[in-house]
């Protein structure tokens, strides 16, 4: 956009669009990207937050027996049972069930518990909701209505998609940019860093942003299907969960479940049963779904909502009624949707793919961060000419520090809060969430009160310290140490602690780089001024 209204080239106009779509929603996009990236380790964060579960190890057989007996005793009339078995992504034996609906209408209350498979008792864990908070913040923010939150995130996602495409159009030499990094060159270095991270993560960012829009379509475009559906969108097909006391029979039995698992393992080559879902238990309509952690091509073409393969059996006849591997009925359009949504949610991913997704997420987050910093660096010469800092520039500086370093501190500090807050504090989980936002707000105040460079240095130092200290904190406050995790193969705890250390390394590098550039500048100044420094 030119101020004189003259026509300009596509690259120039896209550059303008890229700058302003980026800067106006950059902070929100950073938060969405940051929380989304950590959501790839949502289960792992949740396990970390419950140190009582760190030392438990159970076999599959004893876990199933304990969970089944517990559900049969405590919730025989529930409309559904779910058993989450310990796996590479989850330490705990967790059950949850839905109580029968009051008066036969709607859905009943939802209850969950962690079980000790050896004693069969419930494990009382500290209430913590940080993993869920981070995950939900990613797509519906916090403290506002869900619909409004999703609308805002949907709008930001659309802006992100525009920024990605216009950014790609702006680049003349997109592939040579990937291999170009010129350090110690001020604005040029920031631009190179922005380009390199953007080009590296471009396919990931495009798919993740586009699939984000597809996932939110029900909220952001409620009338997109008005032309073919009177309601505006296809009806959701929820399984009918009803119980009928008159036809109460024990189905399935523990023996039946074991038979189904043997069948799944022998016929379908299931490697590790990760979850068992029983709908309408103890009725003639009972259905048992067995899930595996492993996904193959057919699985994620056929479904995207659940990770891993699944087999559904009729509880009475033990016949197979549905298989996730059957993608013959899934159309090409739905296969495309399932694949892109599958990548976004990453539920199918094993350890290596999950790490790849996490690293791609970090690259995307760095792309947004470098873009935000570039905006400030680019305007430094203009500010020097003016001799003052315009208020808008100062605001961007403050928001940059608190959005990038501040959010990182708040997230790292929530791990500390998890261990510092008293176990029996009323509404403990809420206080964890409040603590997260209070710390984030404090970083904003700090950034506004301290000199720009100092605020970066101090906040990056704090972030580095917090992230490095988390594995140690875990070992000292009842959780398992990294050494114990390596010895006993607790991959999920290792994943989260290594991920935190990777981030500590990134913050530490940024801090070291800033300190070094500061030293170089002061050395240059002292050389120029000579004896004046005395």
């Amino acid at each position: 956009m030119r101020i004189d209204g003259k026509k300009e080239g596509l690259r120039q106009s896209m550059s303008w669009l890229h700058t302003y779509t980026g800067i106006l929603l950059g902070w929100l996009l950073f938060a969405i990207f940051f929380t989304g990236t950590w959501s790839y380790f949502r289960n792992e964060i949740n396990d970390w937050m419950h140190p009582k579960l760190h030392h438990l190890t159970y076999s599959e057989e004893e876990s199933i027996t304990t969970a089944f007996n517990y559900l049969q005793t405590h919730a025989p009339n529930a409309s559904s049972w779910n058993i989450n078995l310990p796996s590479n992504r989850s330490l705990a034996l967790e059950i949850w069930y839905r109580e029968p609906a009051q008066g036969g209408k709607g859905r009943g209350a939802f209850k969950s518990a962690y079980l000790d498979a050896k004693s069969g008792n419930e494990v009382i864990v500290r209430p913590s909701n940080i993993a869920n908070l981070i995950y939900r913040f990613h797509f519906e923010l916090h403290g506002i209505s869900r619909i409004l939150g999703r609308f805002i995130v949907g709008f930001a996602t659309m802006m992100m998609l525009i920024a990605i495409i216009s950014g790609a159009v702006t680049h003349k030499k997109i592939f040579s940019d990937f291999f170009t990094f010129r350090p110690k060159k001020g604005q040029r270095s920031w631009l190179d860093a922005h380009n390199a991270t953007a080009v590296m993560a471009l396919p990931f960012c495009f798919v993740i942003t586009f699939s984000g829009l597809v996932l939110l379509v029900g909220t952001i475009m409620p009338f997109a299907g008005y032309g073919i559906y009177k309601s505006g969108a296809p009806a959701r097909t929820n399984a009918q969960l009803t119980t009928n006391a008159a036809e109460h029979i024990q189905a399935p039995t523990l023996n039946d479940i074991n038979k189904m698992i043997i069948k799944a393992k022998t016929v379908w080559n299931f490697q590790q049963v990760s979850a068992i879902n029983i709908s309408n238990p103890n009725t003639a309509k009972a259905l048992v779904t067995i899930n595996d952690n492993f996904s193959d091509k057919d699985t994620y073409l056929a479904q995207s909502s659940r990770g891993g393969r699944s087999l559904q059996f009729d509880a009475l006849s033990l016949k197979l009624t549905k298989s996730s591997n059957n993608n013959a009925d899934v159309s090409f359009v739905r296969q495309i949707r399932n694949v892109i949504v599958g990548v976004h949610e990453g539920r199918f991913a094993g350890v290596i793919v999950r790490w790849l997704l996490f690293i791609s997420g970090i690259l995307g987050t760095l792309m947004v961060a470098t873009g935000l910093i570039l905006w400030v660096v680019k305007r430094l010469p203009k500010r020097r000419k003016l001799g003052t800092t315009p208020i808008a520039h100062r605001l961007v500086e403050i928001f940059n520090v608190s959005a990038i370093a501040g959010l990182s501190i708040a997230f790292g500090a929530s791990f500390w809060l998890n261990r510092i807050l008293p176990f029996d504090l009323p509404n403990r989980a809420d206080w964890e969430a409040k603590g997260f936002f209070i710390i984030w707000f404090i970083t904003l105040i700090h950034a506004s009160m301290v000199n720009h460079k100092k605020s970066w240095l101090q906040q990056l130092f704090l972030a580095t310290f917090i992230y490095i200290s988390i594995p140690l904190l875990n070992a000292l406050t009842g959780g398992s140490s990294m050494w114990h995790n390596i010895l006993y193969g607790k991959i999920n705890l290792l994943n989260i602690e290594f991920a935190l250390l990777v981030c500590a390394f990134i913050y530490g590098t940024a801090l070291w780089w800033m300190l070094r550039s500061k030293a170089v500048i002061s050395n240059k100044t002292s050389t120029i001024t000579g004896g004046a420094k005395c």
């Binding site: 956009m1 101020i3 004189d4 209204g5 003259k6 026509k7 596509l10 106009s13 896209m14 303008w16 669009l17 709008f155 659309m158 998609l161 525009i162 495409i165 216009s166 159009v169 586009f210 829009l213 597809v214 379509v217 475009m221 009338f223 997109a224 299907g225 008005y226 032309g227 073919i228 559906y229 009177k230 969108a233 296809p234 159309s331 090409f332 359009v333 739905r334 495309i336 949707r337």
Partner: protein
Amino acid sequence: VQQKQQQKIIEILHSTCKSKQANTKADISAKLKHTNLWNYRLNIILRTLIAIFGTYALAIACANFSAQIMVIFGIERLDAYQASIMLAFLLQVITIMWIFHSTNLYKIGLVITCSSLILAIAVYLLATFAGLAI
């Protein structure tokens, strides 16, 4: 002597060219200074509003219309719905980029409004009279 004279002439010509260039640059900057900044800002605000609301309406209309066309051509409803929303999102992105690339604001407003209206009318007619909506 002739060469020296020629060089002098060339130098004089260069200096006059430079001063002319400087004059034209000064003119341009003066013109820029006189350009109405508020007009520019208003232009940006209008484009932004069209980009947000206009393209949203266009995307919904386009999603509905393309879904109907797909259903007419025998594609399953759910597939038509999903394919059309994916297409609509891409169309919205391209339209927003065009809005900020094009110089003529009136043309932008006209194209977005007319195309959204035409598609919306077509969707309504097909949904109501052809009975495509179930």
